[in-house]
Amino acid sequence: MHIPDGFLDAKTAVAAGVLAATGLGVALRHAQHHLPPRRVPLLGLAAAFVFAAQMINFPVAGGTSGHLVGAVLVAVLLGPSAAVVVMSAVLVVQCLMFADGGLSAIGANILNMGLLGGAGGWAIYHGVSRTVKGLFGQVLAATFAAWCSTVLAAVACAGELATSRTVSWSVALPAMAGIHMLIGVGEGLITALVLVAIARTRPELVQPDPAIEARQTYGAVVAYGVLIAAGLALFASPLASRWPDGLDRTAELLGFKERATAPILAAPIPEYEMPGVQGSALATSLAGVVGTLIVFVLAWWLARVLVPHRVRGEGRESDTTGQGP
């Protein structure tokens, strides 16, 4: 989902950059004030962990494999501000050292995967895990949040590409959202499996630290909420069919097309585009709602399988027996 250089125009890159910089600023400030100093090295190690974990492959089918993205996992284990800092560090290093993700698109990438993926994912996790208690609730919430954050980031990514006019919204949204609804299932599954495995050996890592929780100020959370809402409003609101109106498209097509490009290539495109514009956005949003419900049910079932009844609510007990190597 890393956007490479050259696909965003100036206004999109700058707008995303401003949102990302503000979000990162809030996260850094919040972490500086509320993170205990002993956890500072943990941020660096968590960033290295995310990078290393992304290299571990999970077999999917027919020789293909997937890997963890890790934004929600880090958010669950370290909290939202730390997750934003960690994911931003990962993205900057990936961009500078490996040219993975563009330099001019770094703002958009931090917005998508750091803010929407990390802080947005954490908000969903927090909401669900507060209503459903125990390790069961945590696994359910993390699975669901991991899927949501993947899809959310993909939608924002599609919106940024569409706002830049490099791709049309009616193509980008179904393609990006569709693919990432599948990828998100894998992400949710891996997040759940890893979380349960951590809870089994070191339950205290999964339990929220009361010392930190007490000092949690809600200012940062509100700030993330505003930024995420602004990002979605800016880039994902063409969902309400603001962007792709037929006349505009036709004019652009006629204006852009030169005689050199063969009409054989250009002709099928308008026919394919026009009727589907409104329909595909609607269909995609409908599919999104249905998909979200299905994923929630699947997450519930997965959490039930991974956290059997006898383990539920016994978090403290296994803590004192101190099992594990």
Binding site: V93, L161, I190
Partner: protein
Amino acid sequence: MRHDFLDRYSRLDSPIHRSSAAVKLVAAMALVVGTALLPPSGPIPLATISLLLIAVAVASRVPWWFLVRRILLLEPFVLGVAALALFGPGGWRLFLFLIAKSTVCLSTMVLLANTTPFSDLLRVLKSARVPSLLLTTMSLMYRYVFVLLDEAGRMKRARASRTFSRQRALAWQTTATVVSQLFIRSSERADRIWAAMCARGWR
């Protein structure tokens, strides 16, 4: 072990490697932003920048096959996004132009990464007043990413020599255990690092 494939040639000795990291970073930034903002047009501007990049690459004495391999490694991502443009109003021409543009930017960044040690880039970012917490996180990440990759490799090998199942569900479960262990070991290592940092009078 051998994780130097990540930035193996960033410490060579050449005129490009010797020039200041700040200059290289700013030049790369200007080049990338300039190229990225190029409106769809003929191939001449892109070809000019490519020639410039090739000249820099030759002067840097980084093996060309290494650079080409690094660029090709990342090209699928470019193709993936560009493929979406095929269905858009731009069609083939925009598709080709986007690929060319993005590849030029990619080459710039690959060249930057392989002519400048990452620690030098961090120093530049520090003098550019990037917040210290982010810098600490990035430098610790750079320091320990190789350690953790080694650790992950060892755990993977140990797991492969003990579990023989081809069952996919089991493979996922064992791999998830490896990932979870990696996190646990990272957090334990972070505690030790914190103790070491305190012992050396950090802050």
